[in-house]
Symmetry: C2
Subunit: 668 residues, 2 copies
């Protein structure tokens, strides 16, 4: 048991001002009392393992040592999960709930070598494999008897999947596929755990059979021996090197030198190759979208959680830190008293909630549409695809920016790894880079929006997420009102106006160019329209959720949600003023009022701000920050973390005698 903590008095003073019940907020944030309880149980159960307590932060280790320590920790956790199950605790999907969640985000600050195994390998087998194939591999994967990863990207091709070069050529004589990497650019590159950890991969390759090309298909390949872990014959494998973050994810490269695998190793739930080499095309090519879309929804949800960590750190530090007198007759204030500090942190708190709500809506939509697809109705898939693409882009970009704002809000100390910001940043930035290049994804959403606009022009009815385009067309949007609802309307008008403008330029260009060239040349405006569309979705989701909270929660909490909505909406409006002013009329007085309203909303929220971050319910063992710990003992923690540096274990480093002293002596 942990002894009662001594809380920094400034922090306690702010906590005493909170007007709502934090536990009520936490239950909402985690989806209900049962989910919150389960999260806390798992955190305690897993993280209390003595083998996970370590005195030297991994950031001091060499790259190789970091990997070895990560594997050690993976196995400690897997054993802990075994123990939990042996003790009779029944928790569905427990491996994903632990290893695929924030619970281990401080154990694996730079990611885990099993993340892709947990998050994608099983899902790929489940969605792409036949029942027989699942019987052979899926259960062993879920029990961690085999470890795998999802291998698609190559050195020369990422987002443009059709350009992949690895080939899989069927040999009907031996009933095998021959998998081959013909060039340097065809080296598979990036999959997590691939380098030294997994022994199986689901790999995507260009299929050739009986001399014909049949597009990209998935295959399962064993890459390392069960007993020795040595690479199998023809397998060239290794890691891709150090990175901004993710240094314990063990991202790898893989090349095939005419590797033979049996016919049964093509994942044939959709398309099939028969023994004689005949190819049978999938009935429903869209089903392949499943894994990618689910991963994108997971990314959006993860962004809310990463940002929750960052704002918890910045908020608590800003309450403990005193600096720069406002009134020269008074002591230096808590820096959160400075409005310029509130301006940095409060909108980031609001963003956590907006993104969490959007992720929830996207999960629901995903479940609904997946069920529709199973019953043969594919009509809403494009809507889901369009939303998941732009949300992945906008949330990763905005969270990357907000994490940096939080870090800068902590002054010099934010630059220290012990603050925790850099590891959060590394994880967030990784998501900007993976699962589709952000601009390409925006242009995919834009294609959907342009199609929707052309339907508006034809007088057709649209799905709810783009209904506002019709309203714009019929002149129902455009008059400025300074409420969140008015901001939503103005943002919808700006988005619709931007789409209409891009559409016009596209049509003009189509007179002299092909549709593809015209689309490419209109890319800047199209990408902008997609970003705005995403902001409309985020704000409208948040409004929906806040209105709902007013019905279901206590009055005090309902008011906090209102405050959060106001901050979010005003900040969004001020950041998108250029776009809005282009399509909506404002007076000077309107603009002055908007700024005033924003500042008033910060002031109104201030007394509850510490309560909300406490309600994100991130224990110190998960937060892993000298600046953000619950007790606010910032300075002692900074000093104590520094003193643990291996360099500080010796008064004099050997480089003095080896290099410095001889030089000084020679230079007298």
């Amino acid at each position: 048991m942990v002894a009662a903590q001594k809380i920094n008095k400034d922090l306690q003073e702010e906590r005493d001002k909170v007007t709502f019940v934090i536990e009520e907020f936490a239950k909402w944030f985690y989806g209900g009392p049962r989910q919150l309880h389960e999260k806390r149980f798992l955190e305690n159960y897993i993280l209390s393992d003595p083998d996970l307590q370590s005195d030297v932060d991994p950031s001091y280790l060499s790259h190789k040592e970091k990997y070895e320590e990560a594997i050690r920790r993976v196995v400690v956790i897997l054993k802990r999960i075994d123990k939990l199950q042996a003790e009779g605790h029944k928790i569905d999907n427990v491996h994903k709930k632990v290893l695929g969640s924030m619970i281990v985000s401080n154990v694996f600050k730079e990611g885990s070598p099993l993340t892709t195994h947990i998050g994608m390998f099983g899902q790929a087998l489940a969605s792409l494999g036949t029942p027989e194939q699942q019987a052979e591999w899926l259960d062993r994967a879920l029990r961690c008897r085999i470890w795998g990863t999802y291998v698609q990207t190559e050195l020369g091709h990422g987002t443009f999947v059709r350009g992949l070069e690895v080939t899989s050529t069927y040999d009907p004589k031996t009933k095998e596929f021959v998998i081959n990497s013909p060039t340097t650019t065809s080296y598979k590159w990036w999959p997590g755990g691939l380098a030294h950890t997994v022994n199986h991969v689901v790999v995507f390759a260009q299929l050739y059979s009986l001399g014909k090309h049949h597009g990209i298909q998935p295959f399962i390949v064993q890459v390392r021996d069960f007993e020795t872990h040595k690479p199998m014959k023809g397998i060239i494998i290794g890691e891709i090197g150090t990175k901004v973050g993710f240094n314990t994810v063990n991202n790898g490269f893989l090349a095939f030198d005419n590797v033979r695998i049996p016919l049964k190793n093509m994942l044939m739930r959709n398309s099939q190759v028969l023994e004689n080499g005949e190819f049978i095309k999938s009935q429903s090519p869209v089903l392949n979208y499943g894994v990618m879309t689910e991963v994108r929804v997971d990314i959006v949800n993860g962004m809310a959680q990463h940002l929750a960590k960052a704002v918890t750190i910045a908020m608590r530090y800003s309450t403990v830190r005193r600096q720069s007198p406002i009134d020269p007759k008074l002591p230096e204030p808590k820096i959160i008293e400075h409005v310029t500090q509130q301006m940095k942190i409060f909108p980031a708190i609001a963003k956590v909630i907006a993104i969490k709500v959007a992720a929830d809506k996207l999960y629901n939509l995903y479940d609904e549409i997946t069920a529709e697809v199973k019953s043969g109705n594919l009509s809403r898939l494009p809507d889901l695809h369009a939303l998941s693409c732009c949300l992945k882009v906008v949330t990763t970009n905005e969270v990357a920016q907000s994490v940096q704002i939080c870090r800068l809000a902590c002054g010099g100390h934010g630059f220290l790894n012990s603050s925790g910001f850099h590891d959060i940043y590394g994880n967030v930035v990784a998501a900007q880079h993976y699962e589709g290049e952000n601009t390409v994804l925006l242009l995919q959403t834009a294609r959907y929006l342009i199609k929707a606009w052309s339907q508006v022009l034809q007088g057709k009815k649209l799905t709810p997420s783009v209904e506002y385009l019709s309203a714009y067309k019929s002149g129902q949007l455009g008059k400025w009102k300074g409420s969140p609802n008015g901001i939503l309307t103005a943002l919808q008008a700006a988005t619709a106006g931007q789409i209409a403008l891009a559409y016009k330029h596209l049509e003009e260009r189509k007179k002299t160019s092909s549709v593809e060239v015209a689309t490419s040349q209109t890319g800047i405006e199209l990408a902008k329209a997609s970003e705005l569309h995403c902001q409309v979705f985020l704000l409208s989701s948040l409004m929906w959720s806040v209105n709902r909270a007013a019905k279901y929660f206590s009055k005090a909490l309902g008011e906090v949600f209102q405050d959060i909505l106001h901050i979010y909406a005003y900040d969004l409006a001020l950041r998108n003023l250029g776009s809005m002013l282009q399509f909506v009329s404002f007076s000077s007085a309107d603009l002055e009022q908007l700024q005033m309203d924003f500042e008033a909303s910060l002031k109104k929220f201030k007394n509850n701000s510490i309560g909300v971050v406490d309600g994100f319910d991130i224990p110190d063992s998960v937060l892993g920050s000298t600046l953000g710990a619950y007790d606010g003992d910032v300075y002692e923690r900074l000093l104590s973390a520094a003193k643990k540096s291996p360099l500080n274990q010796e008064d004099v480093n050997k480089s003095f005698d080896l290099y410095l002293k001889p030089f000084i002596k020679s230079n007298l």
Copy 2:
């Protein structure tokens, strides 16, 4: 000699389109033919040392090994400089030109433990020490006989210098100062090289003499023994731990346990303490601004150079990388053909030039005003201070953002350390954190602007950098014209309008609050006004320089400068549309035209874009990037860098037998 390189054919194709003489541009960029020649000579001379060639990138080392390797490299370079001097090459200030410049930016990717010695210790001695003190320490410092650093910031206080806690109490009996750190928060924290490298410090402490407090004063203290390098008596010293970047800078902490230093160790060029303890106040307290201002100007200049590296990498990679067909009948294009890629990279190229020009102007201003100050005229110091504050903020923020845009523009490969982006980012971000908290600096500039505005209201004449405020007041600004000049005018109007609005709110608040409280509450608007003022300075400096180039350079180069100015101005206008629309009238057609003009400027510049980054003249040995090397051999370099990872030197990592295999066996 390096053999003639084989150049990637796509890259060569683009180089063949360049219309201007790259060497002419390079001469301008480095300040003249002599400076360019000297830079190239030093690069070759220093970096060709065989002891600087190493096969394992430092990012694979442990934190401790990184430091030891950095010290080894420091000494290799110092010996190389000795050799150069012994061979009779006469280069002024050669230590700073090598160790304080980009030449070593790939040798010390995360900074050098001597940066602060080179950049601040000598300057502090020169500007704060008496001639006798300089005779004792300065020459030894310049010859690297003693090594020092500049010690000001504490755990509990950074930007608010008056809040520092370390005390220096004069003891007239022994004619010594007693330096003491009374609290945890008084630990000195951050100085480069402090932890294990330097043996001297210039430390700032609260002076007490004869029971009276005399503010912050500088003292020189020896912290380590010459022979053993052990900490001196009463010195508690160590490093502050791992960071986002700067991991080889050896940033340290320092506490004093009643350390005694002789009277002569107070740096007494300004204020003095006599033997009897009498305090003589400095005639000119502003002289202390010198070191800090010079460091800020160096930061601005450094930002241009860091961004030059980032755009060189992104531009060359975008020329080599082919991805995503535009016209489905044609092969995948170079990604620089996509306008959305041009939108990311070309404005960043323009920003390098705008920031470099602004730094030049600031250096000139610094020299002029320093000369004026020496002759007793302090009138323009506030102007210099205001500009150096906001330029430090805006250039570090903008370059941090642009480096990330460049990194994202390189897709997944940008996330690899071998791309070079992360080390650039770490160095840039460090500058966002150090030398003054960015918002506090903006508010210092704002104080100057508010004062200027009140002078306008009184009908007074202003200095050139804020003259546009008078023009705004008399209604001469505000009509939109789509040229760079028109954009400058609109931006000036937006800035003046923002200042006037902040002034109005400030005055209103002063009716019910003290001026300090009112100022604090108006912080958000004040900070925004400062940022805009800085953008006015950047754009007007660039315009001045481009107009000058038209007179002095070839027609072809003059046109390139014009193209760069257009891209810079249009991009700036689009990014600040919200501010401009608030104070300047635009029609819908104006806005549509602005977007069109921006896109046209990208298209016009495209054929010269590779020429400009080649003209930044950054050799591969300085660039240190797999993606940005001159020959464009991107994929082989990525693979070859990966293969050098220590993890890839073994087929099977020991963690398999230690952890993975026993777990799998136990789990059958």
